[in-house]
């Protein structure tokens, strides 16, 4: 029996009368990769926003390692070990590639303003460590991000590399639970394949528990220990990929949408 890391218990959220998430229950176990699928507007991103404290649930509870996350500020939740990427990329575009990653180390570093102004030896050492740490995070992507000059502004990266940089940045908060919102969106088949592999490596080498939203069924099939399907904010199926993909309600939800569930 694996330990439960994240428990979403009966969570609901309304936007002006519209139930975007309704009475949702999801558990994520230690070291698991759980995929969340569902048609557009199903409430997947909203689920992430609820977990990371950007929205506050109208009802229900979100528990991480036995402690509730509800009511905490997003940065406090980040310090509890939850980190995420954004579907609509939200990099610090006018900062350099490495600074993007270094900035995310804020929560687990300590030098205050006064020490920074005086540039004390301790502060300088910490600064070196942050840089070293950030380089490691970037190096995780091997060739892909290594080929760049890290002092370039982030806006000079291509779309796919911005996605990679977002993942690198997310891991720089030293999380234990990683939320990836459509990491393969906008990538070509080769890159998509790579991302799928990378997510596996993140779990195996980084030791993260991963919750991932993905539309590409090949990726979902390749990486998931478990799949949760949402539609209209309601969980309609849960289980292994094959169970979910053949579930009639899932097929129905996807009928007429681009990602065919006929596999």
């Amino acid at each position: 029996m694996a330990d439960k890391r994240l428990e979403i218990k009966g969570v609901s959220l309304n936007f002006g009368g519209l139930a975007v998430v309704a009475d949702l229950d999801i558990d994520v176990n230690e070291g698991e990769i759980v995929s969340v699928i569902g048609p557009n507007g199903a409430g997947k991103t909203t689920l992430f926003n609820l977990i990371t404290g950007i929205y506050r649930p109208d009802a229900g509870d979100i528990v991480l390692d036995g402690k509730s996350l509800v009511g905490l500020q997003p940065h406090q939740i980040s310090q509890r070990g939850v980190s995420r990427t954004f579907q609509s990329l939200r990099l610090f575009l006018n900062m350099s590639v490495i600074e993007n990653v270094m900035a995310a180390a804020y929560g687990n570093t300590h030098a205050g303003v006064f020490r920074s102004m005086l540039r004390t030896p301790g502060m300088r050492r910490e600064e070196r460590e942050i840089r070293e740490f950030a380089s490691q995070r970037l190096a995780f992507f091997g060739e892909r991000l290594m080929g760049y000059r890290w002092d370039q502004p982030a806006y000079s990266l291509s779309y796919a590399n911005r996605r990679r940089l977002e993942i690198a940045r997310a891991t720089a908060t030293k999380p234990t639970l990683l939320l990836l919102d459509e990491p393969a969106a906008g990538m070509n088949p080769v890159e998509t394949h790579e991302i799928a592999e990378l997510i596996g490596r993140l779990r195996d080498e980084g030791g993260y528990t991963i919750l991932v939203i993905e539309h590409d069924m090949h990726v979902v099939e390749g990486i998931s220990d478990r799949v949760v399907a949402l539609d209209h904010g309601v969980k309609i199926a849960e289980g292994t990929f094959d169970e979910v993909a053949t579930n009639p309600r899932v097929v129905e939800a996807y009928l007429g949408t681009k990602a065919a569930a006929t596999k």
Binding site: T45, I54, Y55
Partner: protein, 307 residues
């Protein structure tokens, strides 16, 4: 009691001027999400247009037109002049920046505000200009009126307050009942979606500036009928107008009216009962209280973060 009535009338007059200015802020903010700092100075230009037209018509003492037509004429002139000014400002200072970072049009607006105030100072100097409203119809508008207790409510006040409310109701109907008004509301709700639905965004924005600036022009005349005007009044008037809009709930038309009146009452009573000097402090406290306890304002919607 008499003081109270007197102060209440003052509050209504001042409040309706603030409300008219606040409406301009709220309308523009609703559609463009832009804090139009230059609005207070458009108001100031309105007071000067009114003054200029009044002089052209022979001045308050011996006008060339009947007294009953005088105030409407200068009001309409100020409204028209300000509307043109508003459109020009939008076209040249804000439109090029519509897709720029959010801080860019704000700074451009600061520049416009500064430019207008100093241009008027350059052209008309620093001496206060007065409409001499006392002389209108040999004082009739001032000394006639009706009495509440021992307090005489001058005709001029009644006209001012009345026309402010007429303008506000007209605006409310315009925004809620007409096609253009619907387009405005659609644009303020979601500009991209509105554009995709075939709404001409440029036209809507221009129209918004016409409405807002015309109201500022009318407010300018009402204001200057009471107090002499200078090129420097735009700053404070704009500040108060925007505060009123924020207190009422920015983006909300009834909110702007309510906010304006609240401000008018707060200032008037403070000046009457406490001290003329500290009304700014009271208004600032109200603003801070709203920021802490009800940041969306009296009638505004709490905004949802877009992710």
């Amino acid at each position: 009691m008499d003081t109270f009535i007197q102060l209440t009338i003052d509050a209504l007059t001042l409040g309706s001027v603030y409300a008219l200015i606040a409406l301009g802020y709220t309308l523009v903010y609703g559609v463009l999400k832009l804090l139009n700092f230059a609005h207070g100075d458009v108001f100031m230009v309105g007071t000067f247009i009114g003054y200029g037209v009044l002089q052209l018509l022979g001045g308050a003492e011996s006008p060339n037109v009947p007294v009953w037509a005088l105030i409407p004429i200068i009001t309409v002139a100020a409204m028209a002049g300000c509307a043109i000014l508003g459109v020009v400002i939008e076209r040249f200072a804000y439109r090029p920046l519509r897709d720029a970072p959010r801080i860019a049009p704000l700074i451009s607006a600061l520049g416009v505000s500064f430019f207008l105030a100093n241009s008027m100072q350059l052209l008309f100097g620093a001496t206060p200009r007065t409409y001499n409203a006392f002389d209108l119809g040999n004082g009739e508008l001032y000394f006639k009126g009706f009495d509440i207790g021992n307090v005489r409510v001058p005709l001029l006040r009644i006209i001012t307050i009345g026309s402010a409310f007429v303008l506000m109701i007209a605006l409310y109907l315009l925004v809620n009942k007409t096609r253009t008004g619907k387009a405005m509301r659609a644009t303020s709700y979601d500009r991209e979606a509105a554009a995709m639905m075939g709404i001409d965004i440029d036209k809507v924005i221009r129209f918004t500036f016409i409405l807002g600036s015309a109201l500022a022009g009318a407010a300018g005349v009402m204001f200057a009928l009471r107090v002499p005007t200078t090129a420097a009044i735009g700053f404070v008037a704009g500040l108060k107008g925007f505060t009123a809009a924020v207190i009422g709930g920015i983006g909300s038309i009834p909110g702007a009216m309510a906010g304006g009146l609240i401000l008018g009452f707060a200032e008037s009573y403070t000046q009457g009962y406490i001290s003329t000097k500290w009304s700014d402090l009271v208004v600032f406290s109200i603003l801070i209280a709203f920021m802490i306890f009800r940041p969306q304002g009296l009638l505004g919607r709490a905004d949802i973060r877009k992710v």
